[in-house]
């Protein structure tokens, strides 16, 4: 097994707010395995997007990374700590859009409304590689075909507003992939889309990943999406990691009470007419707010629980 592409250790982020300091992330620890899809799942306020923004070093005042490290190990060059880079470090420019790129929830805001689609994709290529304009355009066409956009020649001269939401998200994915990044971060890329379009985009991301073998971090609140896209799952809650494991471990035999609650609360899991379980009712008296350190269980997963609460058959 190869070394993880990203190792996040004790990452902490604070935000200054009206009421004082909010600890958006507290001692976040997890690895992103190379060439696989890692889903970060959590509700609002869990810190899943903040984590992604840390990896891209997009945290801005009033927010601040107050501790920890993000070790990034590219295949071709020396590993380094993203969290420790100076703001002016050249590696940072190289990182964003080069080594690591990001797809956001709202494709309309990620695209410039006054430039045509082809130009924007070509521009993404020109930003990071020294090629001629013609070549960039040709590569852009190739990439757009790759993400399933037909009638390329005509579509490339069109503008974002002439595209549907799903098509725009395809364009954004194409832009994110033009430089063949090692890590692709998708921050709720299908949340704003209809369910049929979501299915298409999920299939697209999965197929592209199978083919390009890059590492994907997929951030979502939807466990159905997690089940369909992820190899590994990181469950976050209130700025902490509660459970890490393979998708089957986490979704089929969750250990942490919060994960259990999250799963039981989805409509469709219980029969219609039955009451939905709420997280509070599943969690019951279990303590999910104290930050227990992650312990590694016998099946390889990690969970933030006091030792006494680990099921006997999984004791390390």
């Amino acid at each position: 097994m190869t070394a993880p592409v990203l190792e996040i250790r004790d990452l902490a982020v604070e935000f200054k707010t009206d009421t004082g300091l909010t600890r958006a992330l507290r001692n976040v620890n997890f690895d992103v395995p190379r060439g696989e899809v890692t889903a970060i799942v959590g509700e609002s306020g869990s810190g899943k997007s903040v984590t992604a923004n840390c990896i891209m070093r997009l945290i801005q005042p009033p927010g601040r990374i107050t501790g920890g490290s993000i070790r990034f190990a590219p295949t071709a060059s020396q590993a380094f700590d993203i969290a420790a880079l100076e703001d002016k470090d050249e590696r940072l420019l190289d990182l964003r859009g080069g080594h690591i790129s990001m797809v956001f929830q709202e494709p309309m805001t990620a695209l410039s409304p006054v430039h045509n689609i082809g130009g924007q994709v070509a521009e993404a290529i020109l930003c990071h590689r020294e090629v001629s304009k013609e070549q960039a355009w040709a590569e852009a066409a190739q990439m757009l075909a790759h993400v399933g956009i037909g009638d390329i020649e005509r579509r490339m001269t069109m503008y974002p507003f002439e595209f549907s939401g799903g098509m725009r998200q395809r364009v954004v994915i194409a832009m994110a992939l033009v430089c063949n990044p090692e890590v692709l971060i998708c921050d709720e890329p299908t949340t704003a889309l209809d369910v049929t379009i979501q299915a298409e985009i999920l299939t697209l991301i999965r197929n592209l990943q199978d083919e390009l073998k890059n590492s994907v971090i997929f951030i979502t609140h939807d466990l159905g999406v997690v089940a369909q896209i992820a190899d590994h799952v990181v469950v976050m809650y209130q700025g902490r990691v509660l459970e890490i494991g393979t998708v089957r471990q986490v979704l089929k035999q969750p250990v942490h009470p919060y994960t259990k609650g999250l799963l039981k609360a989805i409509p469709g899991v219980v029969d219609p007419g039955e009451r939905l379980a709420t997280i509070a009712s599943v969690v019951g008296d279990a303590d999910i707010t104290t930050p227990f350190p992650l312990i590694k269980l016998s099946d390889g997963r990690q969970v933030s629980l006091p030792r006494g609460h680990v099921p006997a058959e999984l004791k390390p």
């Binding site: 935000f15 707010t17 009206d18 009421t19 004082g20 609002s44 306020g45």
Partner: protein, 383 residues
């Protein structure tokens, strides 16, 4: 990052005491809290408060009446209020030194030198020029006067009038003359913009066309024509006042557009739809549900419009088509500083200009702070 700050949903309520407190405060208090953090805006607000207070009390604060002449000190430079005399001795009561005047035989200019033997201690709440306070009460007490001599903190002009007194009398006119017109502008803007935005249809189209027409009329020539057209028997002050009011009939257009835009945006907000669906009548929807949500925004716009009004007065009076002497305003005072000679020989005549700059800057900073603080969708905690 907004998600990081949002309250943990469905989580056991671990709320800080501070957050508990934040929960019950009104939007107004929330605005005040945010405004307080805007130091520069707060300072500007205080400065403006003091300035308006001085303007309101200018008869009392000024040592002299604006038209009082001191023939012994024509074009005299500003005097320093001292606690230490030239020998370095401290005096509890502040004082000024009088001037000796000599005419330079080469240039024929008056030249003033400080005469240490003419030491005039300042006397507070002293009797001086009698005045009518706001035409309501008679008075003769002044905040300070120089015992046995004269005090000109900002110097005097070519007629020997005290600039300090004139600046504050001018402040009263300059800071207030446009306000009535401004209020009218706002009432017109809100009513017409609101009607256009809420009723829509032909009302909207009519207001839009009218706006387009009015916006295309150049203001300066209009101003000059109006000044000439008003009855010549009117005093300059009354003419100016009349013109500002007539101009307000033209000035509401930009505000009306803003209000219309906000109305259109608010009309589709879910809470407004909700108000309609509970059966609230049109007027109730507008007055109770929509108006409070853009009033703060409108007040802010008003604050930012005041400096334009001050600049308007100053520049028009400076050009000679606004106020004219004997009215005292900042613009009128600056007319004296129109030539190069003044800038070299008597630079203190430009002090009113300094006040214009300070007042305008303070209003802008204040308005900016207000705008940032009053935005209801920037509730620093949610969304």
């Amino acid at each position: 990052m907004s998600e990081a700050i949002a309250l943990p949903a469905g989580a056991p309520a671990v709320q800080a005491a501070d957050e508990q407190q934040l929960a019950t405060i009104t939007p107004r208090e929330l605005t005040w809290r945010r405004f307080k953090r805007h130091r520069l805006a707060l300072a500007s607000g205080c400065f403006l408060g003091v300035l308006y207070l001085i303007a309101a009390l200018c008869e009392f604060i000024s040592p002299y009446k604006p038209e009082t002449r001191n023939v012994a000190a024509i074009n005299a430079p500003p005097m320093l209020v001292r606690f230490f005399d030239l020998d370095g001795r401290f005096h509890l009561r502040p004082f000024v030194y009088g001037y000796d005047m000599a005419v330079n035989p080469d240039t024929w200019m008056r030249e003033y030198t400080v005469n240490p033997s003419k030491r005039y201690p300042l006397e507070f709440f002293a009797k001086g020029d009698p005045y009518h306070f706001w035409n309501l009460a008679r008075g003769e007490r002044h905040l300070f006067l120089a015992k046995g001599g004269y005090v000109h903190v900002f110097g005097t002009d070519q007629l020997g009038r005290d600039m300090f007194s004139r600046v504050f009398y001018g402040a009263r006119i300059s800071l207030s003359i446009g306000l009535v017109g401004l209020v009218m502008t706002f009432v017109l803007g809100i009513v017409l913009g609101g009607l256009a935005g809420y009723i829509g249809g032909w009302v909207d189209r009519a207001v839009q066309r009218l706006t387009a027409v009015l916006l295309s009329i150049p203001q300066l020539p209009l101003w000059m024509a109006l000044t000439a057209a008003l009855p010549p028997a009117w005093s300059p002050l009354r003419v100016y006042f009349g013109v500002t009011i007539i101009l307000s009939l033209f000035g509401w257009t930009i505000l009306a557009r803003q209000v219309r835009g906000r109305f259109l945006a608010l009309r589709v907000e879910e809470f407004v739809v909700a108000a309609r669906l509970i059966g609230a009548r049109k007027m109730r929807v507008i007055l109770r549900h929509m108006l409070p949500n853009f009033l703060s925004h409108t007040i802010t716009t008003a604050t930012l419009a005041v400096p334009a009004m001050i600049i308007g007065e100053t520049s028009l009076s400076f050009l000679g088509i606004g106020l004219r002497p004997p009215v005292v305003s900042w613009g009128v005072l600056l007319q004296q500083a129109q030539n190069y000679q003044v800038i070299v020989m008597t630079p203190w005549l430009m002090i009113p200009g300094l006040f214009v700059v300070l007042a305008v800057m303070a209003f802008n900073l204040f308005g900016d702070g207000l705008r940032d603080a009053a935005d209801p969708y920037n509730t620093g905690g949610q969304g």
